[in-house]
Structure formats: structure tokens, C-alpha cells
């Protein structure tokens, strides 16, 4: 038997692993680009279908989704937002050490919450809640031929299934984000006053210092875009699902993974365009 050089084995294995890694990476990138192409068309079709929301029956469908996806998410947003604010206050205090005066604590927390933490973390939590629920629901409807039933009755699934959900995402996520940011500020105030030795006056005046309404706009734009991303990706993966329970599970997973990645990518894009 030929002796194999152990070094060679290691090099070969590393080479294989690298090839596999880049193969997977580029495969994933390729799939993502294809998805983006599909989605681009879908976005415009759905935007055009929003016109039906102004009819009585169209509004009813959208309102149901707004209740299910938005209003029902309030308890979750409530809890996560409070903790986001509390963590923001503590970590800002830690980073200040003794170099930055504590009267800037409120300022730092406010900027952090409205520009980044509020919209991004709310969106990530909501992609787990509403993105997955949309994907599972649409996937199951497809599995049970309900989507075909819409087509056969000459009802466009995009109009009756996608548009109300996407509208709910676009309207409700910025709303929830605003609520989350306000609650986060309350959370940070409570921790600062209760545990960090900052007076209420110092904290509140810090929050008001350098406050520009422009950061609210950034926050709202992020919320709106993220809401659209989550709901469209949920619908897209749901309608593409195939193969029974496994397919629905996969669609749910894909919707959460892809919307999380997209949220972070678009977060950078929006931050860059609006703040740079």
C-alpha cells in the first residue's frame, strides 16, 4: 500500500473544504440573486394591487391582517422594547466609563434606539413572528389546494392573499417600531434612574439634547421597508413551498432566514443613504 503523506492529506482536505465552502457560498449568493429578481417583479405587482384596498371588501381583508399581524404583536413588542432600552442604557453607561459625562447618557440612548436598535431588533423579532406565520399559512393553503381554488374561482391570489398581508406589514411595522422606540426610552429611563445613579432630570434633558425629528423619519423609513421585506418574503416562500409538511417547514425557515439577512442588508443601505 502506498504511503500517504499526512501533510498532503491535510492540504487536500483543506482544499476540498474550501471548495465546498465557496461552492456553498456562491450557490447561496446565486439563489439569493434569483430570489431578488423574482421579488422585484412581485413588489410592483403587489403595489399596484394596493388600489383594491380602497374598496370596502378589500379594506376588510387588509384590516383582518393588520389585526392579526400588527395589533396581536403588541405584547411581544412591549416586552422586547423595554429590554432593548434597558440594555442600551447599561451598555452606554459602561462605554462612557468616566470619560463622557453622564448627562449625555440619554442622548446616546435616544440616538441608538431610534436609528438602529428599535427598528432593527423589532424587525428581527417580527420576522420570527409574522414572517414565519405568513409563510406557514400560505404554504399550508397551497398544500391544501386553497391557492388553486382562488385561481379557479378567478380570484387572483396576489390580490386576495399577498396584497392584504404586505399592506399590513408596511403599515403595522413602522407603527410597532415607533411604539417600541418609545417603550425602549421608558425602559432606559427606568434603568438609568433606578440602577445607574442618573437623575431623572439629567436623563430626560439628555434625551432632548441634539434630538432632531429627522431620526424619527429614518426610523419610520426603516420600519416601513422592513415590514415590506418580512411580509413579501413570507408570502414568496410560502407560495413557492412544495412537498407537504417538510416543504412548509422549509418555507417557514427560509422566510425567517432570508428576511433576517435582508433586514440587515437594507439597514446598512438605508443608514448609508440617509445619514452619510
Amino acid at each position: 500500500m502506498a504511503r500517504t503523506n499526512p501533510l498532503l492529506v491535510v492540504v487536500e482536505a483543506t482544499g476540498e473544504a474550501t471548495t465546498l465552502f465557496f461552492g456553498k457560498l456562491f450557490g447561496a449568493l446565486g439563489r439569493m440573486l434569483a430570489t431578488l429578481g423574482d421579488l422585484f417583479g412581485l413588489v410592483f405587482q403587489i403595489l399596484w394591487l394596493f388600489r383594491f384596498t380602497f374598496t370596502k371588501r378589500g379594506w376588510l381583508l387588509a384590516r383582518t391582517q393588520m389585526m392579526d399581524l400588527g395589533v396581536a404583536s403588541l405584547p411581544l413588542v412591549f416586552i422586547t422594547a423595554l429590554f432593548i432600552g434597558m440594555v442600551a442604557a447599561v451598555s452606554a453607561k459602561y462605554q462612557f466609563q468616566n470619560f463622557v459625562p453622564l448627562r449625555y447618557l440619554g442622548t446616546a440612548v435616544t440616538q441608538m434606539v431610534f436609528l438602529e436598535l428599535g427598528p432593527v431588533l423589532t424587525a428581527l423579532v417580527m420576522s420570527g413572528r409574522i414572517g414565519s406565520s405568513i409563510a406557514a399559512q400560505i404554504g399550508t393553503m397551497k398544500e391544501k389546494e386553497e391557492v388553486d381554488a382562488y385561481r379557479v374561482l378567478d380570484l387572483d391570489p396576489l390580490r386576495y392573499l399577498a396584497a392584504p398581508r404586505v399592506l399590513a406589514g408596511i403599515v403595522m411595522l413602522p407603527t410597532l417600531t415607533m411604539i417600541a422606540c418609545s417603550l425602549a426610552l421608558i425602559g432606559s429611563w427606568a434603568v438609568a434612574v433606578g440602577g445607574l445613579g442618573v437623575t431623572s432630570y439629567t436623563m430626560v434633558s439628555g434625551m432632548r439634547l441634539f434630538f432632531r425629528s429627522y431620526i424619527l423619519l429614518v426610523c419610520l423609513v426603516k420600519g416601513t421597508v422592513f415590514g415590506g421585506l418580512i411580509s413579501i418574503l413570507g408570502y414568496y416562500h410560502g407560495i413557492k413551498s412544495a412537498g407537504g409538511a417538510r416543504g412548509v417547514g422549509e418555507a417557514t425557515m427560509k422566510s425567517v432566514v432570508s428576511s433576517s439577512v435582508m433586514i440587515l442588508m437594507f439597514d446598512f443601505l438605508i443608514t448609508f443613504l440617509m445619514l452619510f
Binding site: E145, E146, D148, A149, V152, L153, D154, L155
Partner: protein, 268 residues
């Protein structure tokens, strides 16, 4: 219906050399390999065939849920689908389909299921006449009007299929496609569905296409029976002709035998 004369030249649906294949995990599977079938206006055509043989695929081509790889689908004399052309907008509302498991909208009550498409397509229709229509249709499928407020999850399999039929009839279709209407039902419930198919036929003078592997159902409702075997239509005939045919594959299917009769095979 037997005894009703059908003009020979009036076809509701014509399939010409229809081909369709699907990608599977182990290659490409040719499901339809050139299906030719004419369905006359007003008749009930039953398409027989084994499970997974592509019967439902034929129905889905007729109503535009699938696009053919080759061949043509012609409805009311109009070419609706070819590999290049795919336009069901003109005929969609003429056709209705009853899905295998009913495919009722889970989030809506029975009444809303029946009325939904009607209200969407005719937004100005008064609520009272919608209610009347729902009640009439529930009566037609022998369900108590109180069922209108029930949710699909509270219904049995047979009831779901009946409600699905009512939902289809709400749009007054001219052609109704039934995808395995009796599969998964006990013999008595199956017969209720068979009677409903016949009743629908006689009341609304629709053209029906029924896909099934239930022989009792086939012989009861069919004006003509077509047999799909390995992607081709190998036999078309009346129920009597079907019983008497010497075609070994048809006989095998009617008798439910695992093996082909070698004598019959030799005779063809």
C-alpha cells in the same frame, strides 16, 4: 344523461396531443405523453386511470392551473393554452372545479366560502340575494341552512366536498371538473356525491369531467368513459361499451386485477 341526444360537433373541451412532464428527484417523469380527448357539450365524461397516472394533471390543464409542454387545450372552440399561449381570462368563469379534499377556505365560514367569489365578482349584488343564493345552494347540496355559520374544520370529508360543489355552483359555471369526488369517502357518502353530480348535470345542464378510480361512481355518472394509461387515452366509450370492451387494460382496471389477463392480451 343516457337518452339525451348530443350534437356530435359541439365540443366543450378538446385536448390535442397534450404533453406534460415533471422534474423529480430522479430525473424527468413524462406524465402525459400525447393525450387526445374530446368532451361534448352537456355530457359527463369520466376519466379513469391509476393513482399517480396524471388524471388530475389533465384536469389542471383544462382549467389553466398547469401549462402544457406541448399540444393544445381548446375550450368552446377557442385555443386557450399551448406552450406559447396561455390565456384563460375569457373562459375562467365558465369553468368550476371541485378539488380532491374540497379546498375550502379555512378562515371563512361555510356561507362565506360559498358567497366569497360571488361577492367579489359582483360587488353591487344586494346582501339579501347573496344570502338567498347561499341558502338555495345549501338546500341543493342537502345541508341545513344553519350550516352557513359553521367553519370548514367542523365538517366531515363528504360535507366539505358538497360545500365545495356549492361554492363552484355559485358562479354558474358551464363546465365543472371533479377531481376524485368520491375518494376517501364511505360507499354511502360516495353515492350521495354521485347523485349530486347527476343532479347538477340535469338541473344546470353543465358539461362535467370527472376524474376517478372508483368504478361504481364511474358507471353511475358517466355518459362516456375514457381510460388513461401510461400517458395516453387508450379507450373511450359509453359505460356499456366499457363493460364489454376486450381491451385488456380496461378490463383489468374494471375487475381490479393485479395481473393482465394473458388471453385477452394475446387477443388484441
Amino acid at each position: 344523461m343516457p337518452g339525451v341526444s348530443i350534437p356530435q360537433d359541439a365540443y366543450a373541451v378538446e385536448l390535442r396531443n397534450l404533453r406534460k412532464s415533471f422534474k423529480t428527484s430522479n430525473g424527468v417523469q413524462d406524465v402525459l405523453r400525447g393525450v387526445d380527448l374530446d368532451i361534448r357539450r352537456g355530457e359527463t365524461m369520466v376519466i379513469l386511470g391509476g393513482s399517480g397516472g396524471g388524471k388530475s394533471v389533465i384536469l389542471k390543464h383544462m382549467i389553466g392551473l398547469l401549462r402544457p409542454d406541448a399540444g393544445e387545450v381548446i375550450v368552446d372552440g377557442e385555443v386557450i393554452a399551448t406552450p406559447e399561449k396561455f390565456d384563460y381570462s375569457t373562459i375562467r368563469r365558465k369553468m368550476g372545479m371541485l378539488f380532491q379534499m374540497g379546498a375550502l377556505f379555512d378562515s371563512m365560514s361555510v356561507g362565506e366560502n360559498i358567497a366569497f367569489a360571488l361577492k367579489e365578482h359582483h360587488p353591487d349584488i344586494p346582501a339579501l340575494s347573496v344570502e338567498e343564493k347561499v341558502a338555495t345552494l345549501l338546500g341543493m347540496i342537502n345541508l341545513n341552512p344553519a350550516f352557513a355559520t359553521k367553519m370548514p374544520s367542523e365538517l366531515s370529508g363528504g360535507m366539505k366536498k358538497r360545500v365545495s360543489l356549492a361554492r363552484t355552483l355559485a358562479l354558474d359555471p358551464e363546465i365543472i371538473l371533479y377531481d376524485e369526488p368520491t375518494t376517501g369517502l364511505d360507499p354511502i357518502t360516495s353515492d350521495v356525491i354521485n347523485d349530486l353530480i347527476l343532479e347538477t348535470q340535469s338541473k344546470f345542464h353543465v358539461t362535467s369531467v370527472v376524474v376517478t378510480h372508483d368504478m361504481a361512481s364511474a358507471f353511475k355518472v358517466a355518459d362516456r368513459i375514457a381510460m388513461l394509461y401510461q400517458g395516453h387515452i387508450i379507450f373511450v366509450g359509453t359505460p356499456d361499451e366499457t363493460r364489454e370492451t376486450t381491451n385488456p387494460f380496461v378490463q383489468q382496471f374494471i375487475r381490479g386485477e393485479r395481473r393482465l389477463d394473458p388471453e385477452r392480451l394475446a387477443a388484441t
